[in-house]
């Protein structure tokens, strides 16, 4: 475990994740206080990537629980291995022996799902509870015990307590308001889109082979694009995909040829409305740093030329 927030920031940097002081302090403090971190922010700003980088940086096992509507205890914490229990019962019946409760309700018959798996890890572990806002409120209530005590109660065998407290990262896209109880158990961090300089640094760290000029131009383009009213604003992940695609198509300067830019725009824009809005003209405007031309400007241009 890192001794200071700065150590943690550097170790995250070594595995390719550029965290700022706020974020590294929050994550470091969460480990010190043995509290989960709740990360909120738009899709694609690096919430999930943080958990992956943290696991890599601290040589910990990453256990991921992807939340969805209808997620229940049997999918998140544990489930009895019914087939095995039946086999055990049959085996006892065949041997003529009496069956005791312990013969079918023990840890051997328990299927570990992510939460139980995380608290049963003998070594360091990062538990990523991804998109908690997609899960139902009932599941949120169940999580309270796990996140506060790092234990899971299985009625048949008792309470399973964590041998090593896992570092828990919860992520949320804000599609639903989380309960105050859950929020108060966590340290909170809001991840926003990175600044220009920061995003350039992230791309350069992730894609070191790409031309520096291309990276700077492309990131600037994406930053300006985020100012437009898009249905789905491109995140850092989309920027990386797009630059990777441009690099594979041997584009070295962004403004040299529009054809590859238009062909790869699908890496950035994810809805048909956004594709309709960002046509070749708009792309040129963005590259030149211009905002939308109003009707008055468009009408005035020919008169001025005349």
């Amino acid at each position: 475990m890192a001794a200071t927030p700065d150590d943690l920031r550097q170790s995250l940097h070594r595995v390719g994740y550029l965290a700022d002081t706020d974020l590294s302090t929050a994550v470091w403090l969460a480990a010190e206080l043995e509290r989960p971190v709740l990360l909120e922010g738009d899709a694609g700003v690096g919430k999930t990537a943080l958990a992956q980088a943290l696991a890599k940086a601290s040589n910990a096992t990453l256990v991921r629980l992807q939340c969805f509507e209808g997620l229940d205890l049997s999918q998140a914490a544990y489930e009895w291995n019914y087939s095995r229990q039946l086999m055990s019962i049959r085996a006892h019946e065949a041997s003529g022996g009496a069956i005791r409760t312990d013969d079918v309700f023990g840890r051997d018959f328990l299927l570990e799902r992510p939460l139980l798996k995380a608290i049963s890890q003998p070594g360091p572990c990062v538990l990523l509870i991804d998109e908690i806002d997609r899960a139902d409120e009932a599941f949120e209530a169940f999580l309270l015990e796990v996140l506060a005590e790092y234990q899971i109660t299985v009625p048949e065998i008792g309470t399973v307590k964590a041998t090593t407290v896992p570092q828990v990262i919860l992520t949320s896209n804000g599609t639903r308001e989380l309960s105050d109880a859950l929020r108060r158990r966590c340290l909170y961090h809001h991840l926003d889109y990175p600044t220009l300089a920061r995003e350039i640094a992230i791309v350069k760290a992730t894609l070191p082979d790409v031309d520096s000029q291309l990276v700077e131009d492309a990131v600037q383009f994406v930053q300006r694009l985020r100012g437009d009213d898009l249905a789905k604003t491109p995140g850092v992940a989309e920027t990386l995909d797009w630059i990777k695609a441009l690099h594979r198509m041997n584009v070295h300067i962004l403004a040299s040829d529009m054809a590859p830019l238009l062909a790869t725009l699908g890496c950035l824009l994810k809805t048909s409305e956004d594709h309709f809005m960002v046509n070749a003209d708009r792309m040129l405007q963005i590259m030149e740093g211009r905002r939308y031309e109003g009707v008055a400007v468009k009408n005035a241009a020919p008169e001025g030329a005349a």
Binding site: T4, P5, T21, D22, T25, A26, L29, A30, E32, L33, R35, V37, E40, E69, G70, W80, Y82, S83, L86, N173, G174, T175, R176, E177, D180, R183, R184, L187, Y188, H189, H190, D229
Partner: protein, 388 residues
């Protein structure tokens, strides 16, 4: 290296926590203990690191996150924040309503006058025209002056039975709102459709016998109510009533409430607290707001920032305003169109029984599902069947 002001740590933190609570943040003894622990663990009082650490501890939402820097500086570096209220190191600053109002007004004014933010100047009472010259001097708006509004506060006093009637009405209206059916199914005891997959899954526990069938019903989404209250000067005489209505819905139906004049802020936390003092504070706040109204800008901020991820077909957006806007003509229509595009149903509550005459509202009315006059409780009662 900058350090925090030399105050006994626990005393300073208690005062700071009180300031945070005054701004709607949830900071109890657990958070204060964690803040003290953080100082010890970080081994010093470097402001940058402590600020980051405490931010992670004290903030619980993006709203808290956004106001953190300003509050931190105001308490720990009052000399840096010109024109702000300086808070002493008392564990619980004793402030009367007037001071609380002044503090909130300063917040709003400071935010409105930040570099780069376009401060609204006027709110034309009549439909604006392109040719009309725009004066830089602030112009008087409709509604009473600040002093008059405060003097009229007696008329805004509510009897307990009226308050309970309002709460009951809010509950009835919420129950009356139609939930939105979705494509998904959920397990329910009284479901009508057999969930074959889940039933088979459960039958494994009983040796393949489906003794515990799963019944499904179509999942419905409860309506999410967002209430946006205009507290600009032209609304001075109506805002107190509107905020009472907003409070009733915030408490009874978990509605999210916002106030706006030249910018928008969320006040849900403040409204959900069950305290007479808070209501008094909110009432008094509405009495003092000057400047114009930037409805379009506020709606845009609401759509793009505050409720971006929560706007869907089940969202009901109720705007309590007279519609006088100082933004560009047509901007309100664009903002409403964008909001509508997200699937939200928009109802516009007008403070008088007369038809809305503002030019901005005329331009944007095609995006509004329903106009509702709302001047008193009887109007709200009458509007009950209309709100679905």
């Amino acid at each position: 290296m900058t350090t925090l002001t030399a105050k006994p740590a626990s005393e300073g933190i208690a005062g700071f926590a009180a300031l945070l609570r005054d701004h709607g943040m949830i900071v109890g003894p657990a958070e204060q203990t964690a803040m003290l622990f953080a100082i010890g663990a970080l081994g010093g009082l470097k402001v940058g690191v402590v600020r980051s650490a405490w931010r992670a501890i004290a903030c619980h939402s993006s709203r808290d996150w956004r106001q953190w820097d300003e509050l931190f500086d105001r308490y720990w570096h009052p000399s840096r924040t010109r024109g702000q209220v300086k808070v002493s190191g008392q564990t619980r600053p004793k402030r009367d309503v007037r001071q609380a109002v002044q503090a909130m007004r300063d917040d709003m004014d400071a935010a409105a006058s930040k570099p780069g933010s376009r401060a609204a100047k006027t709110a034309g009472d009549q439909p604006a025209t392109q040719d009309a010259p725009v004066s830089d001097a602030p112009q008087a708006q409709g509604g009473a002056s600040r002093a008059e509004a405060l003097a009229q506060r007696d008329g805004q006093m509510w009897l307990p039975e009226e308050l309970s009637q309002l709460r009951a009405l809010a509950k009835q209206i919420t129950n009356h709102l139609r939930p939105t059916p979705t494509r998904r199914w959920q397990a329910l005891h009284n479901g009508r459709r057999l969930g074959l997959r889940q039933t088979l899954r459960r039958s494994v526990a009983f040796g393949g016998e489906p003794v515990n069938p799963v019944w499904l019903n179509r999942r419905v989404e409860a309506p999410k109510i967002f209430i946006l209250v205009d507290v600009s000067r032209s609304m001075e005489s109506h805002a107190a009533f509107f905020l009472r209505v907003a409070r009733a819905f915030a408490q009874q139906s978990q509605a999210r409430a916002f106030v706006f004049h030249t910018r928008i802020i969320e006040i849900t936390n403040l409204l959900q607290r069950d305290s007479a003092a808070v209501q008094e504070k909110i009432n008094a706040v509405t009495a003092g707001f000057g400047a114009g109204t930037r409805i379009a800008t506020s709606l845009e901020a609401f759509t793009r920032q505050h409720a971006r991820a929560q706007l869907s077909r089940s969202a009901r957006v109720w705007v309590f305003s007279d519609g006088f806007d100082t933004d560009e003509p047509g901007a309100l229509a664009d903002a409403l169109a964008e909001l509508r595009q997200r699937g939200a149903r928009i109802s516009w509550f007008h403070p008088t029984h007369k038809a809305a005459i503002s030019a901005a509202l005329q331009g944007g009315k095609k995006y509004i599902d329903r106009f509702v006059p709302l001047a008193n409780l009887a109007d709200l009662q009458a509007a009950r069947p209309l709100l679905r």
